[in-house]
């Protein structure tokens, strides 16, 4: 008889483990499906956060597959009528699965890199500050008022080094008293926290807390929205420090008249909101204000912008996961950008830069659209010396 | 008829109460006629030993003024208690602690430090503080021990009656003495005598509004005072509403000054400060916490205002250690 019983029983032990790992809010879901309908993956693949929650809640088979798809863009959470922190549920499940040894192979490399060398590219730790030395970025000294915290991507990855150099150049031009937190610091751990690697994240956090705990500056400026998010939302507020994103700094310096852009940039640009700057941290206008302040730049919006912006696909560990053509959120975003008629797709996050550039290449649109950062465009527009 | 046996004593106080007895003027002769004094340090010479030698309950009436501040005050209070049939807490200090009890807002250490080390006129580089016993070549010199706390008389010994005031109104004093001397029936023990049964406002003729609003507290020194209008209506703290009537209103009527509360609580309330806050704060003209705090801040030293004469009898009694 038994083989004819095609029924599944709830696996409450599994469900209980998920609840204990921080998936408490699983219980309040009433299965309306808003999450699924607003999830950007819906445009490309079959993916239902709702079904994920329902299966996870009862410990039913099937939720494991969906676990690693989520890019933590937070669209679902913002729209959830029950105000459920759905990204957190994914993180909790990931934590449980990782403990059981089910980390996807693609993630093992960056995890090993972070564990061994403090960066996801498995580059030797010694190379961390090479970019700064080469480009005369001042190292942090006690008299500095601002800490510059660069993303691993700015440090180890060639494309994003350009952004880092632009940031340092602008800070110098504006006369900001700043220094770069080099070897004492390490990766902020934000993206790794989203993959459920809690213990590794705590390790990285400890290193950074030690490094920042010892400095006298009261403000830290990050280039990546992920570092910003880690400091603002995942680190304890014990440091008593203010954390700001570079675009917020530029916006302020422009308003105060310290920075005066004079040379025009690209004629028509569109701005892609990084999820971790926008939805996660509520910064929507600062980068736009910067772009609007640059002479000659015309800012147009894509179909999805501000709170409705679509993820580049790099969040939640997505940056390291290979996806077949036709299943790339970055492609969707680049096509949306192209359809605005813009010649430049501007963003403000190293991972967005990586993902969007990969899509531009993959779609053979190199001649049609460039990917730049807000800092790069601003840097271009500041005359040599910058400050009058 | 034998003369009434009387003692008058002065503990922690200024001496004004003693003087007030003399302020009954020529009637003091009648008192002298009717009374035999066994102790009255300010007026006559007696030794404590003489009192100690008296049989218990020998004295008919003791008027005890002053608070209990040190071991000597307490010793004499207990002595006079033993020797007296009727012990009267005479004046604010004995009644409710009076001005000396404001010291309860400080610790003994703070007071010593202020008096013997900090005060501008003091030169005391070693920081020497009073010692209760000092060895000298001739032996040991002792002075009374200062207590941590200032007490009203009834916090140390049982008391039959209270005559309030700083000082008591001479007319009231005469009424009390006359009653005792003439053998009139005395009220039940524990009563306040020589004072009224209502609050001071009852006999105050100042005009009051029916729509009181306090927008800020004024101070006597910096405000022109209208002699016909209720002080509260002028934004001044007047303790009249929480003070027993009977003083004759030397302050309010004769001097155009708000009542300071020396006659103590009227019957029916338990704490001058608490009641004054309840009454005054209710009519503060503000609704937002910030605005209320601003108005409250215009009245510094509330405890000093409200418990000027009644700290010993206040519900909290003293500052927390």
């Amino acid at each position: 008889m038994a083989e004819f019983m095609r029924c599944t029983s709830p696996m409450l032990e599994v469900a209980q483990a998920l609840l204990e790992a921080g998936g408490e809010e699983l219980k309040t879901c009433y299965q309306c499906g808003t999450c699924t309908s607003v999830c950007p993956w819906g445009n490309l693949i079959e993916f239902s956060p709702r079904r994920f929650i329902e299966t996870a809640r009862l410990g039913l088979e099937g939720f494991e597959e969906a676990t690693w798809t989520c890019v933590q863009c937070r669209m679902c959470q913002d729209r959830c009528p029950q105000q459920i922190d759905i990204p957190q549920i994914f993180r909790a499940v990931r934590g449980v699965l990782s403990e059981g040894g089910s980390t996807p192979p693609a993630l093992r490399v960056p995890l090993a890199g972070l564990r061994g060398e403090g960066n996801p590219w498995v580059e030797p730790r010694e190379k961390k500050t090479a970019w700064a030395t080469k480009n005369d970025v001042p190292a942090l000294a006690p008299e500095h008022e601002v800490v510059l915290f660069a993303c691993c991507a700015n440090e180890y990855e060639a494309r994003n080094q350009r952004d880092g150099v632009a940031v340092a150049g602008l800070m110098k031009a504006a006369g900001v008293s700043f220094g770069y937190l080099g070897k004492e610091g390490t990766c902020c751990g934000d993206l790794i926290a989203t993959t459920g690697a809690e213990s590794l994240f705590s390790l990285l956090r400890k290193t950074n807390l030690n490094a920042l705990g010892g400095v006298s500056a009261r403000t830290t400026v990050t280039i990546s929205p992920h570092c910003l998010n880690a400091f603002r939302n995942r680190y304890p507020a014990v440091l008593g420090m203010t954390f700001r994103h570079v675009t917020e700094l530029w916006d302020e310096l422009l308003r105060e008249g310290v920075l005066k852009p004079s040379r025009g940039g690209a004629a028509r640009v569109t701005y892609h909101d990084p999820c971790y700057l926008g939805r996660h941290n509520g910064v929507y206008e600062a980068p736009r204000n910067v772009l609007k302040a640059i002479p000659g730049i015309e800012l147009v919006e894509m179909a999805h912008h501000h709170e409705r912006s679509i993820c580049c696909g790099g969040g939640g560990g997505g940056a390291w996961m290979e996806r077949p053509k036709g299943e790339r959120l970055g492609d969707l975003r680049v096509m949306e950008a192209v359809s605005t008629g813009a010649d430049t797709l501007v963003t403000a996050c190293p991972y967005c830069v990586q993902m969007l550039e990969a899509s531009v290449l993959g779609l053979n649109l190199e001649g049609k659209i460039k990917v730049r950062t807000v800092s790069e465009l601003l840097s271009d527009s500041i005359a040599q010396g910058g400050v009058e | 008829m034998s003369k009434l046996k009387v003692a008058v004593y002065w503990a922690a106080s200024c001496g004004g109460c003693d003087v007030a007895i003399l302020d009954i003027h020529e009637k003091v002769l009648a008192v002298n006629e009717a009374c035999e004094f066994f102790l009255w340090p300010i007026a006559m010479d007696f030794k404590y030993a003489d009192v100690e030698a008296l049989p218990d309950k020998h004295i008919d009436l003791t008027l005890f003024n002053g608070a209990i501040r040190n071991s000597e005050n307490k010793h004499i209070a207990e002595l006079l208690r033993r020797k007296s049939k009727v012990l009267v807490a005479f004046g604010s200090c004995a009644h409710t602690g009076g001005i000396p009890a404001l010291a309860n807002l400080y610790s003994k250490d703070q007071i010593f430090h202020r008096a013997y080390v900090e005060s501008p006129s003091t030169v005391n580089p070693q920081g020497t503080l009073p010692q209760t016993a000092t060895p000298v070549t001739e032996g040991e010199l002792t002075i009374p021990t200062m207590f941590d706390h200032v007490y009203s008389l009834d916090q140390v010994v049982d008391v039959e009656y209270y005559v309030p005031g700083c000082p008591p109104n001479p007319e009231r004093i005469w009424e009390v003495l006359f009653a005792v001397v003439s053998g009139a029936t005395l009220p039940p023990p524990g009563s306040v005598i020589g004072a009224g049964e209502r609050a001071l406002c009852d006999s105050c003729g100042r005009k009051r509004t029916e729509d009181k609003r306090i927008t800020g507290f004024n101070r006597v020194a910096t405000t022109p005072l209208d002699p016909d209008i209720c002080f509260l209506d002028q934004g001044l703290i007047c303790l009249g509403p929480v003070t027993r009537d009977g003083c004759g209103q030397q302050c309010v009527k004769a001097s155009n000054m708000p009542c300071r509360g020396c006659y103590g609580l009227p019957p029916g309330i338990t704490d001058q400060g608490a009641k004054m806050i309840a009454a005054v704060a209710s009519v503060i003209d503000a609704r937002e916490p910030e605005d209320i705090r601003k108005i409250v801040a215009t009245l510094p030293d509330q405890a000093g205002y409200y418990y000027r004469f009644s700290m010993s009898q206040s519900m909290l009694g003293r500052k927390k250690a």
Partner: protein
């Protein structure tokens, strides 16, 4: 457990007491340290109640009334608010930590809030330690009653 703080809470009948009832009917658990005394309106609450409670051994006093604008008797809560601020100022002179006496608005529908408030206030008082006002003063100097 007997070392737990003792807290007297004065609650107005219409909002806060009803809110505390709602915490009960909703079976929300909170500390037993908070003991409730009911008055019809927070406007009835006098500073002497607070002093009495402190003197009788309370470590903290909580005053709750209707939210501003919601007073069943129009403005009683504003009167409580004014007295509270003036009393707090004076209690400071008596060396009392400002947080030992607290005023909060709790509506009839805020059972959950009342329970949370009871817990957080008790926690705060526990942090401040026992008040033991009954023992303030010097027993040896005073007459033995």
């Amino acid at each position: 457990m007997t070392n737990d703080p003792k807290i007297v809470a004065f609650l107005c009948h219409w909002c806060s007491y009803t809110g505390a009832d709602l915490a009960g009917t909703s079976r929300i658990k909170y500390t037993p340290a908070v003991r409730i005394v009911r008055v019809m309106c927070s406007g009835r609450i006098e500073p002497s109640f607070v002093l009495k409670a402190l003197k009788e051994g309370a470590d903290g006093v909580l005053i709750c009334g209707c939210h501003p604008g919601d007073c069943h008797y129009q403005e009683g809560n504003y009167k409580a608010l004014r007295r509270f601020h003036m009393l707090k100022e004076m209690l400071g002179q008596f060396g009392l930590e400002g947080d030992r006496v607290r005023l909060e608005w709790v509506s009839a529908s805020e059972g959950d809030r009342f329970a949370k408030l009871a817990d957080s206030f008790t926690e705060e008082i526990r942090r401040l330690g026992p008040l033991a006002w009954k023992r303030v003063g010097n027993e040896s100097e005073r007459r033995v009653a």
